[in-house]
Amino acid sequence: MDFILLIFSIIAIFSAISVFFMKDLFKAALMLGVVLISVAVIYAKLMATFIAILQVLVYSGGILIMILFAVILMRTWEEGITVKKIYLIPATLFLVFLVPLINLGAVMQKEFTVTDLGNELFSRYIIHFEIAGLLLLLAMVGSVFVAKRWKE
């Protein structure tokens, strides 16, 4: 049994719950960051090292900061979801009952390096790569176009 995998899965699940239950929207966005970094740790345990680094860089470096800026800009003090505390007991019981289902399938030992990813990305998936670049350009232009302050 992989102990680190288990711990970070539980952290990811509970912070995903608290994303929706935090009353303050800013704290909810920070809990989203906890989910993203736990998923990065799980990637690293699954031997996808480059993907883990990319997850920390892109998600918690770029996307989370963008979401935090938006939250600061338009924060309203509203209530989170309100569910009675007693309902947390069957939810945790459900999690406990899921534990025997844990199947520790043997994960391979081969690790894909950045070289493998780059070779594959620029040979078989070159068209997809170009289309992804076009998509990013379109998203950038489109978001500037949408959020622009138009003169009346």
């Binding site: 509203e78 979801i81 959020a147």
Partner: protein, 96 residues
């Protein structure tokens, strides 16, 4: 095990999206769903020793970045027009 965690995360995010009323929280739920799906890709890529899953995670990352940029721009526009991000109030006082 990773599959189970992924299923639980997707369920939590779906319930959250269905019950919350804040547009920003809905965007965060979409992030969680995409991350859970990516976890599944990474696990199967490691189990089958096949690199296609890792490549697919890269493309999902790109699409997610584009989605968040456009989504936040649209939410900003909604906030400027309606002065709220609550979907109930937006539906109530729709001007267009």
């Amino acid at each position: 095990m990773i599959t189970i965690v992924s299923i639980i995360l997707i369920t939590i995010a779906l319930i959250g999206i269905a019950t919350t009323r804040n547009l920003l929280r809905i965007l965060m739920g979409a992030e969680i769903i995409l991350n859970a799906a990516n976890m599944n890709f990474a696990y199967n890529s490691a189990k089958l020793s096949n690199i296609d899953g890792d490549i697919f995670i890269l493309f999902t990352l790109i699409v997610t970045a584009a989605e968040v940029a456009l989504g936040l721009a649209i939410i900003l526009l909604i906030y400027k027009n309606f002065n709220t991000v609550d979907i109930k109030e937006i539906g109530r006082e729709r001007r267009y």
